[in-house]
């Protein structure tokens, strides 16, 4: 089949002219050469597109890289990042090793672990990007760690997420401030809280958050799950969930599919308390008329799970140079400050703002006074993500316990 495919492209010289797939991969250490090669390339960026604000920001990035670097950036809209992973996998399965469709992909966590483990990624490149230094990885290890896995330069940091709770202040006076208090609160307010159905990402994060709060063996969570006694470590979690479920929305017989669906239920007044992985989401949803103006957000005292999201380049991308230039632009103070602006997207920066020079620091100055928004210091109470194997193990155990009964 490869032979046929080569002949096919040979019969179409025009096709060869438009692809650079047969060239050697660019060397990220020679940035001048990368910039030169990137000029005129079209970069296909596969990114989740469930949010108008995110899409608008990516449109803005496309305008900027066109103007600054002569790169045509196309946002390929995904409902689920796995679609991009599937595409690269299908290409590898078919022997297409140098002319893939995906040039850049918005990724983190399990998807990254899976792509890296199956050699579907190009790299290392991230640490060679000129703007990468602005993240000061020696002070911020989370920008080079994805769910405890070292990224080893196979993905470049882009933004930050952290579990943030939100509630309707008109119906809730004092929201619970810890996982343990949450159970009492749910008992007192039956049917007004739930979490997304496992294996949803946000729902799985809630399990991990609860596990961290309930278990005594925190250290075990940061090593592969095989190295500890899963049943013993997670026993308090299942006791907790068994006690919690009868007081959840629909008595725990049904769960919303995703975080956004949970937000819809908040808007409909079915729930009174919910959480999200995007700290700016409640404020943005108020602006979009999805949530009542009386919505307030907070991070419980003990802190919540947080992580960094990244962009990566598949191993068979024909436009690696262009993709690297885009990844570098995403790390620029200009792009990061624009992204953090609540009027634009509100996604937190991965740059170490305190260490930037004054001119760049000024870009990040907070001028937001939105009651639905988190206080600026709330996001400092960040708990690191456990090893990714815990997520899979928890998902399997949850499904075995609560499905079909």
């Amino acid at each position: 089949m490869r032979a046929f495919s080569s002949r096919f492209s040979a019969a179409l010289p025009a096709l060869l002219l438009t692809t650079t797939g047969l060239q050697a991969a660019p060397d990220p250490d020679n940035w001048e050469a990368v910039l030169n090669e990137a000029r005129g390339q079209t970069v296909y960026w596969y990114a989740w597109a469930g949010e108008q604000r995110t899409n608008d920001y990516i449109d803005w990035v496309a305008e900027r890289v066109e103007a600054q670097f002569d790169i045509e950036l196309t946002h390929v809209k995904m409902g689920d990042t796995a679609e991009a992973v599937s595409r690269v996998l299908a290409e590898k399965q078919a022997g297409n090793h140098d002319d893939g469709n995906v040039d850049l992909v918005w990724i983190n966590g399990e998807n990254f672990a899976a792509m890296k483990a199956n050699d579907l990624l190009f790299g290392p490149f991230a640490e060679a990007l000129p703007n990468f230094a602005l993240t000061y990885p020696e002070h911020n290890p989370e920008v080079v760690t994805d769910f405890t896995l070292p990224t080893e330069g196979y993905e470049s940091p882009w933004g930050r997420a952290q579990i943030t709770f939100y509630y309707d202040s008109e119906t809730v006076d004092s929201p619970p401030d810890s996982i343990v208090e949450l159970l009492d609160w749910a008992e007192a307010n039956p049917g007004r809280f739930t979490y997304p159905r496992i294996p949803d990402f946000t729902g799985s994060t809630f399990l991990k958050q609860a596990l961290i709060a309930l278990t005594d063996e925190d250290a075990a969570l940061y090593a592969p799950v095989e190295e500890s006694d899963f049943a013993a470590v997670t026993a308090p979690l299942w006791d907790y969930l068994d006690a919690l479920h009868p007081h959840l929305w629909r008595s725990g017989r049904q769960f919303p599919a995703t975080g956004p669906e949970m937000r819809s239920l908040m808007g409909d007044g079915e729930l009174a308390l919910a959480f999200t992985f995007t700290p700016s989401e409640p404020a943005a949803a108020v602006a979009d008329y999805e949530l009542p103006p009386s919505t307030r957000s907070y991070v419980p005292d003990g802190g919540t799970l947080g992580n960094v999201h990244f962009v990566a380049i598949p191993y068979n991308s024909p436009h690696k140079a262009g993709a690297m230039v885009v990844a570098n632009f995403l790390l620029s103070p200009e792009a990061q400050a624009h992204k953090q602006d609540l009027a634009v997207w509100g996604d937190h920066t991965v740059l170490d703002v305190g260490r930037l020079d004054d001119e760049h620091q000024a870009l990040f100055a907070l001028d937001q006074d939105n009651p639905a928004m988190l206080p600026a210091d709330a996001l400092q109470r960040t708990l690191p993500e456990p090893h990714p194997s815990w997520m899979t193990a928890l998902q399997d155990a949850w499904q075995a316990r609560y499905i079909g009964n």
């Binding site: 046929f4 492209s9 989740w48 399965q93 022997g95 008595s251 239920l265 079915e270």
Partner: protein, 559 residues
């Protein structure tokens, strides 16, 4: 050239499906070298059957497919039996047809918002009638028995089966049959059931099979309305295919093959039910009752279709309100404020997707119509009875999309094709062609042969007969078939997204990816846009013949 049309038709449809199925079959038995699977094993199947709730999923898929089809068919037949040609009946018929153009997902969202505890009905009744200040904690949407899923499917399948029945009815000459039965003392509705229904069913059997296959493997409607713990098999398969853990692909492929088995089982069970019902009907007809049950049947015929139509329209109305809604607190019957901002946000990004959607739909429909006409004309000229091989045409409707599309992508990659509009048109053709053929074939085959014979005796060639007599006289059914084709193409999500590598955005891919964000206001905007495009096709299909043949009443086609 013409003789090639049926062959081309079958190859074009069957080859990709078989190739796609083969590529799904390999990983289902552990063979997928790209993921390190290079030996054949049964492990994926063991993993599949060890999934919690897998048999529950299978049962829900099977049951919802069968029940939804049975209910839709019953409502359509009840309505047709009760039709008396009154103004009310024509009014209903005119209301039902446009429902065909509403995308399944949009109809499902509409229904979900209608019946949810915080939905439109609860809001209208609260707090006045119910005393609810907050939405009650009731499990209505996504119930574990799949009832809301069945309701959603029924709303969408009734218009399809009705259109197919209306296309097939004229050749049975139902008025004369009913008149004959009435002269023997049968009441009109009973007469229709006893003398028309048994002859009508064989003519709409294929569309019914397509409905069973669709309903037992549907993804989008099941995600919105179907049960969740566990979901239907098709939804589970999609979840496994999109699991970050790539080793799940093996099990997902096995699931895709299992889905094929579930759909085949549903068809087999239906076939058994057909036998049973035929026997019961035989006894019932032979007993010769002339009056009993007449009123009940007639009332049910009008009531059910009215209810379904009303539900669909109110649901869409709910989406329309959402698309301009400000914040809408429960239990307010209307949003607190109205805003154009959702539309204003969407408008700038509409142009590209609409252009792609229209281009793909028009090209796919034109190709499909040409091929279908070629095959049908060939049938007329050779005078041969419709070949058995044409059954294969319906393969794409009966094999679940999810079972072969993932494999088809691998095949296309191996052939070195690039994701372009052309490839997507090809993918859409798989689904557009059967529907166009289904809609067109009856009208074409029952076309009075005397018209052609007359033209031939006047010295016209066969080609002239085709272009100057047959085509113009069949304009109305042809345009209806094309409108159906356009609607089918516009609604395609998986083929567009998979074959286009996500690079080609249509209104539907845009709507689905935005739906992932769960913002009902944005969903409302896109669902309306998505529904308007095929509606334009139906309006042209109904309006154009009336305009062209305004001076020839017999040529204007059915309303």
């Amino acid at each position: 050239m013409l003789r090639l049309a049926p062959v081309l038709l079958v190859i074009l449809l069957v080859a990709p499906i078989l190739a796609g199925l083969a590529m799904a079959m390999l990983p289902a038995f552990g063979y997928l070298p790209a993921l390190g699977g290079d030996s054949v094993s049964l492990d994926p199947w063991r993993a599949l059957f060890a999934q919690p709730g897998i048999w529950h999923s299978v049962a829900v898929s099977l049951a919802s497919g069968l029940v939804a089809t049975a209910v839709s068919l019953a409502v359509v037949l009840l309505y047709l039996a009760a039709v008396t040609g009154s103004r009310f009946d024509r009014w209903i018929r005119r209301l039902v047809s446009p429902l065909l153009s509403i995308p399944h997902a949009a109809a499902a969202f509409g229904l979900a918002f209608l019946i949810a505890p915080s939905g439109l009905i609860a809001r209208l009744a609260s707090p006045g009638l119910t005393g609810w200040e907050r939405p009650p904690d009731l499990l209505i949407v996504q119930d574990p028995w799949g009832l809301s899923l069945i309701a959603g499917l029924v709303v969408k399948e009734i218009p399809f089966l009705l259109l197919m029945s209306l296309a097939a009815l004229p050749q049975l000459d139902p008025e004369r049959r009913v008149a004959m039965a009435r002269s023997l003392g049968y009441r009109p509705t009973l007469a229709w059931w006893k003398v028309v229904a048994p002859s009508l069913y064989p003519l709409i059997r294929l569309p019914v099979f397509a409905v069973i296959a669709y309903a037992s493997s549907v993804v989008d409607v099941a995600m919105i309305l179907g049960p969740t713990l566990p979901p239907t098999l098709s939804v589970s398969i999609l979840t496994w295919f999109s699991d970050p853990d790539l080793d799940m692909r093996f099990m997902a492929s096995a699931g895709a093959i299992l889905q094929l088995g579930v759909t085949a089982t549903a068809l087999a069970i239906w076939w058994g039910l057909e036998r049973l019902v035929a026997r019961l009907m035989g006894i019932w007809i032979a007993r010769g009752g002339r009056r009993q049950g007449e009123t009940g049947l007639r009332v049910a015929g009008k009531l059910w279709i009215l209810l379904v139509t009303a539900v669909a329209f109110v649901g869409i109305g709910g989406l329309a309100i959402h698309s301009v809604a400000g914040f809408w607190r429960f239990p307010d019957a209307l949003p607190g404020s109205l805003t154009a901002s959702h539309w204003a946000q969407a408008l700038p990004s509409l142009e590209g997707p609409i252009a792609s959607t229209a281009l793909i739909a028009v090209v796919a429909t034109l190709l499909a119509t040409t091929l279908a006409l070629g095959a049908l004309e060939n049938e007329q000229r050779t005078g041969r009875y419709p070949s058995r091989a044409l059954w294969l045409l319906y393969l794409p409707l009966i094999v679940p999309q999810i079972a072969f599309l993932f494999g088809l992508v691998v095949v296309m990659e191996q052939l070195g094709t690039r994701p372009t509009h052309g490839l997507i048109v090809f993918g859409h053709l798989l689904f557009v062609l059967p529907y166009v053929f289904l809609s067109l074939s009856e009208a074409y085959r029952r076309f009075d042969p005397r018209w052609s014979q007359l033209a031939l005796t006047l010295g016209a060639t066969r080609n002239t007969v085709f272009w100057r007599v047959r085509l113009p006289m069949l304009l109305a059914p042809m345009l209806t078939a094309m409108a159906v084709g356009l609607a089918v193409s516009i609604g395609q999500y998986l083929p567009t997204q998979l074959l286009g590598a996500g690079r080609v955005t249509t209104v539907t891919t845009e709507a689905v990816s935005l739906a992932a964000g769960g913002n009902r206001r944005v969903i409302g905007v896109w669902a309306l846009v998505q529904a308007c495009l095929p509606l334009a096709g139906f309006i042209i299909a109904i309006g154009l013949p009336k305009l062209l043949w305004s001076n020839r009443r017999g040529m204007q086609g059915a309303p």
